[in-house]
């Protein structure tokens, strides 16, 4: 469907080949089909075993199940029953996060846990804010264009149909989008809250255009999914079923087509046949009895995200791969990225109650591309956010207040509105995931993540902080509070055109293991200044299409290299 017709028809034509929205129960938030789900035995050689039931793994499973594949998903966290398990409460949402120990190091250690790591069926998208922007075409060629980062071995045109399909499945609500590759959204924009409207006024006075959305939140009804009720708890799991996550957008259809989701099972190792170098399946430990089992499969896909995917690859060492799977060239875990996510809050005389309406409301990609006048390469986006009380207390603490002053600032909560940025921080080989000396309850080494900002990163963050502070002043904010923080994860096992500089080829296939794929955000060589969820789903959708047709398994060198942009082959 062309852009014109998408704009005219909006959500009146739903996505094909995905019935999730009709399979959901109107009266219950549970994932339908758990009781009748297929169950495979460990020694059944299924067609595909996937590690991780999040954005990547769920989409891959749903697509391939539609092609008749027998699929098992191994998931470390629980199978949620949202009516009982999820609460409208910040502290009570602790079980949604990956809170098993990880070590953070480097000059700028990145806070994990609730900030960017999910656990359980549905993955981190259960508690992502809901922003679903696309990457820009330029994100796929930063090395050619700007001499930074890396070029992707695929083109924007490879992703575009999958962006459109996933946007229809979530569905994404937002205004017509003028930035990057201009496009329209299947659902109309949500109403703007008082807090977001203040920020938009300020931005307009600074000459910055902001648009409503794009968010994966139903505006209207969508099958059996109801309209958003604007209760403000997107980051604590949507109990309404209005916010998109694989739990409501892909897993219901996957379960209806024979996918088994094996929850509370921690993948420990991808087992390799030492003679052929092929993966035999995945060894996992069940949480209930700690027993180790091997699920055999013809193909294996890992979708554990930027920390757990490299961790599993590194932990899967064997005589044939002594340094871990896919790590012959010491590439696994490198080039992991986060985004700068500084937030600035302004105070107004009115009670704006920023928690009313979804935390993600309006955003701007006007600063997304490189502008030499700014003094750094690549850019950032501007987005509104709305911290709840605990998040707001961290904000006030970061401004240096505690004790009586903190309580005094906090009691004024309803008067503040918050705007944030997402900086594109550049990929660096020394920002990486490694295995720490410490082990977890299964004896598996825990992950260590080292992160150090480059000068370009710091310049980007400083510039963007000034932009949002100016917006607040232009909007007549009386006072301003700033917190420097980071968000999202991406990279760590990037795709590329040569085994020396990447972990997987243009088809997400690990260079040295013929039947092992990575199906999550860890394959992204760059991250843009866009929230990663939609792109992770679109990549998994493309991978599924190529696995179903067999194109992803072709050993032809040109097919594996993908598209190269520079004649000299100097791209990395």
């Amino acid at each position: 469907m062309g852009t014109f017709w998408r704009g005219i028809l909006k959500g009146s034509i739903g996505p094909r080949d995905n019935d999730s929205r009709f399979l959901l129960d109107v009266h219950s938030r549970d994932l339908p089909g758990e009781a009748t789900m297929a169950r495979y035995r460990d020694n059944d050689e299924v067609d595909l075993v996937i590690v991780g039931a999040g954005a990547g793994g769920s989409v891959l499973a749903q697509r391939l199940a539609r092609h008749g594949w027998r699929v098992v998903i191994i998931e470390a966290g629980p199978f949620w029953h949202p009516d009982e398990d999820w609460v409208s409460d910040e502290a009570g949402s602790h079980p949604l996060y990956w809170t098993q120990k990880r070590i953070i190091g480097g000059a700028d250690p990145i806070e994990l846990g609730k900030n960017n790591s999910g656990r359980g069926v549905g993955g981190s998208m259960v508690h992502y804010a809901g922003y679903t922007p696309r990457f820009h075409p330029s994100d796929l060629s930063t090395y050619t264009d700007d001499g930074v980062g890396a070029d992707w071995p695929i083109d924007y045109e490879d992703l575009r149909p999958h962006y459109e399909q996933v946007e229809a499945e979530l569905p994404v609500a937002g205004q017509d989008w003028p930035w990057g590759y201009p496009h329209r959204y299947p659902f109309s924009p949500h109403p703007v809250s008082g807090a977001a409207d203040k920020l938009r006024e300020g931005a307009l006075r600074c000459g910055i255009e902001m648009r409503v959305g794009p968010v994966g939140i139903v505006n209207g009804t969508f099958g059996n999914r109801p309209h958003c009720i604007y209760r403000g708890y997107c980051l604590q799991g949507c109990k309404v079923n209005a916010k998109a996550s694989p739990y409501v957008t892909h897993l219901p259809d996957a379960l209806a087509h024979g996918v088994e989701v094996r929850a509370n099972c921690m993948a420990l190792q991808v087992e390799i046949e030492q003679d052929s170098g092929r993966a035999r399946g995945v060894v996992y430990a069940t949480e209930s009895d700690g027993a180790h089992r091997l699920q055999r499969a013809q193909y294996v896909a890992i979708a554990g995200y930027s920390i757990e995917t490299p961790r599993l690859l590194l932990a899967s060492s064997s005589p044939r791969f002594p340094h871990g799977l896919g790590n012959n060239a010491d590439q696994v875990g490198r080039y992991v990225m986060v985004q700068g996510a500084t937030q600035t809050a302004g105070r107004w005389p009115h009670e704006l109650r920023m928690y009313k309406a979804p935390p993600p409301e309006i955003s701007s990609e006007q600063f997304y591309e490189t502008d030499p006048d700014r003094g750094f390469t690549r850019g950032f986006s501007v987005q509104t956010v709305s911290p709840l009380p605990i998040g707001w207390a961290e904000h006030v603490l970061a401004d240096g207040h505690w004790g009586r002053a903190l309580r005094e600032y906090m009691r004024d909560y309803n008067h503040w509105a918050t705007i944030g940025v997402l900086n594109e921080l550049l990929a660096h080989p020394d920002n990486r995931i490694t295995l720490a000396d410490e082990t977890d309850e299964y004896g598996q080494p825990v992950a260590r993540m080292d992160y150090t900002l480059s000068d370009n990163d710091k310049a980007n963050m400083a510039y963007s902080t000034k932009v949002i502070t100016d917006i607040l002043h232009a909007a007549d904010a009386q006072d301003v509070l700033t917190i420097q923080r980071f968000a999202h994860l991406i990279g760590g096992a990037r795709m590329g055109s040569s085994p020396e500089h990447s972990v997987v080829d243009a088809n997400h296939r690990v260079w040295a293991v013929p039947n092992l794929f990575l199906a999550d955000g860890s394959v992204c060589p760059t991250q843009g200044a866009a929230n990663p969820a939609l792109t992770i789903m679109a990549l998994a959708s493309r991978l599924a299409q190529r696995m179903a047709s067999g194109a992803a398994m072709v050993d032809d060198v040109a097919a594996r290299i993908g598209r190269t942009r520079s004649v000299a082959g100097s791209r990395r």
Partner: protein, 241 residues
């Protein structure tokens, strides 16, 4: 100067925290009393019976993770950083204790820091060390202004000697404050103080305050204006002058 609570009553409907304790109330306001005023959704919404907020209103203690020797320092520290100086207190000490006893940590540990549980113990030892050095008493025995001064140095990462040398002091401040603040602001009394309505499910919000005749500060019928709209930045500035 003694710690007082933030300037008087500024809650949605009269702060529970700001009421003087009296013999008839006892130390803890009952859960029932709280429920019928505040968390409409918890009481009436059949979906959120499991809200862990309810257990936050149970009578707390006894401590399981911290030892009796550590308890006075811990209580003095939590009172100082959260400006709680009389009953009824939000039982932050017990809530932090439960979190650590049950190992519900946050999912990351700085490479140059011990486990969060050990960090807490070292911080308490460090506070006593600094108080002993500077004031010839342990932290709990120090005056309000002495504690205030020590915590201020802690917040700036400037404490040295004793247990502090085993820690990155700036990160230790972040570890303990993250826990103390998440517990304090998860408690419905604190929501009441800041005018936060709590869980809005299945009710939701209808009046978002966007462009329109009602203005940005439009309220739902059940929302009440705050008792004051003083700008806290000005208020805190006056204190510091």
């Amino acid at each position: 100067m003694l710690f007082t609570r933030p300037t008087a009553d500024r809650s949605v409907a009269g702060s529970v925290l700001d009421r003087s304790p009296s013999a008839s109330h006892g130390a803890v306001v009952s859960a029932e009393h709280f429920l019928d005023r505040m968390v409409w959704d918890v009481e009436h919404g059949r979906f959120e019976r499991a809200l862990s907020g309810l257990s936050r209103l149970d009578r707390p203690g006894p401590l399981r993770f911290f030892t009796t020797e550590e308890e006075p320092t811990l209580r003095a520290f939590c009172d100082t950083v959260l400006a709680q100086d009389c009953e009824p207190r939000v039982p932050v000490v017990e809530m932090v204790d439960t979190k650590l006893a049950e190992g519900k940590l946050d999912g990351y540990q700085y490479a140059d820091m011990p486990d969060d549980r050990d960090t807490w113990r070292l911080v308490l030892r460090g506070l006593d060390h600094t108080a002993t050095q500077g004031c010839r008493t342990d932290f709990a025995g120090a005056t309000e202004s002495q504690r205030d001064a020590i915590v201020s140095e802690f917040a700036h990462g400037r404490l040295v000697g004793g247990a502090w040398d085993e820690l990155n002091v700036t990160r230790a401040w972040s570890v303990v404050m993250r826990a103390a603040l998440s517990e304090f602001y998860s408690h419905p009394w604190a929501w009441n103080e800041i005018g936060f309505g709590g869980p809005a499910y299945p009710r939701g919000f209808m009046r978002l305050g966007g462009p329109g005749a009602d203005g940005a500060a439009v309220r739902e019928p059940f929302e009440k204006p705050g008792a004051t709209d003083e700008d806290p930045v000005r208020v805190v500035d006056t204190w510091q002058q």
